[in-house]
């Protein structure tokens, strides 16, 4: 177990960022769907507030994750990749990072536009990014949901590629992001 990345393996810190964010994004989806189906009432607002707090957590983790990535070596893509596959991999990774910022920030804007304070678990409240505006809030709601659907598509490509590398190409691309697996030379 090593904290920092090496050229052949993601370190514990990078792995933790990856998997914690995965779990949080799934949680976000569940909370959003739950909220959507709830009757209007206090519990529904509470679920929405929780969704926002977790979103902010993801945003903070995304910043730290990029910093950590910049301070560490990045395990390179396998040499076996065809040029278009390299482009696809890079684009998918870039997109996924993009969503880690775009989802919380559009959510934050949406919240401000609908005049809902964005509080972090009740500890502190974020500044308003935009003035309250019902029409703009509806637009941002659309953007927020559409972005999530695109995120799911990117994640599907990402997961499919990871599984292909593991089960078909039998390389260590998936394993090097998994905890508790031994470091196996390619």
């Amino acid at each position: 177990m090593q904290l920092r990345n090496t050229l052949s393996r993601w370190g514990v810190v990078s792995q933790t960022f990856h998997w914690v964010i995965v779990v949080l994004i799934i949680t976000q989806y569940v909370l959003a769907e739950t909220e959507h189906d709830m009757p209007l009432g206090m519990a529904r607002f509470a679920v929405l507030a929780r969704h926002k707090s977790i979103g902010l957590t993801i945003l903070a983790l995304a910043v730290l994750r990029l910093l950590w990535r910049w301070m560490n070596p990045t395990p390179p893509l396998p040499d076996t990749l065809k040029p278009y596959e390299r482009v696809l991999a890079r684009a998918t990774h870039f997109g996924l990072y993009f969503f880690l910022f775009a989802m919380p920030i559009t959510g934050w804007i949406l919240s401000c536009a609908s005049n809902f304070p964005v509080s972090y678990f009740g500890w502190f409240t974020l500044p308003n990014l935009v003035a309250a505006d019902k029409g703009f809030a509806e637009t941002m709601h659309e953007v927020h949901e559409t972005l999530f659907n695109v995120l799911v598509a990117f994640a599907a490509v990402h997961i499919a590629a990871a599984l292909k590398h593991h089960f078909w190409l039998k390389d260590d691309v998936l394993r090097r992001m998994l905890p508790f697996t031994s470091r196996t030379p390619r």
Partner: protein, 216 residues
Amino acid sequence: MRIARVGLILPTLYAALVLAGGPAPSATPTAAVTPAANATPAAPAAGAGNYAVDPAKSWLGFTARQSGGDVDGRFEKFTARITFSDANLAASRFNVDVTTQSVNTQDDNRDTVLRDTDLFNVAKFPTAHFVTSAFARKAPGQYEATGKLTIRDVTREIHLPFTFQSAQEGGKSVAWLKGGLTVNRLDYGVGQGEWQDTSVVENPVRIQFELRLLPQ
């Protein structure tokens, strides 16, 4: 829009003058509005000026605390019959009717909840009401009104600090009436059932207003 509202207010004001001494006319007679029986007549005494609200440049709203942050709301419809003079506080009087249905917090879900039975219950209590009974001067231009505030079916005496300033705007004499106070929403029953819980929406709510007054 602006003309239409002024057009509404003028007859109301006129009616108030005609009916001076009787119960103040309310836009909604079924409201749980009980004008104080011993209220000062609305007729202007010498030196106490009557004012109409300029709806385009006036606002009446509140700031509540939800999930740890401030939520600003406005009441888009209200009427305020203002008689005021620094020189004649005894004859001064505020009489304000607020249409609870007109609450606007820029979110349809929240406004629906606010209008529902557990909060403002606008079907049963369409109007909130404030009427003064006494004024005190605290400092030059700064005053405190004592009056009765009715929200839902609860009437409580409040002390409302405010400022009153005459101004010339575009060659026109106007006056600005600004003030606010913090009330506990649960004192007025704004929060039945689960909304009695103050963990999501806190109990204190700041009521605020800025009224641009046109002399009549």
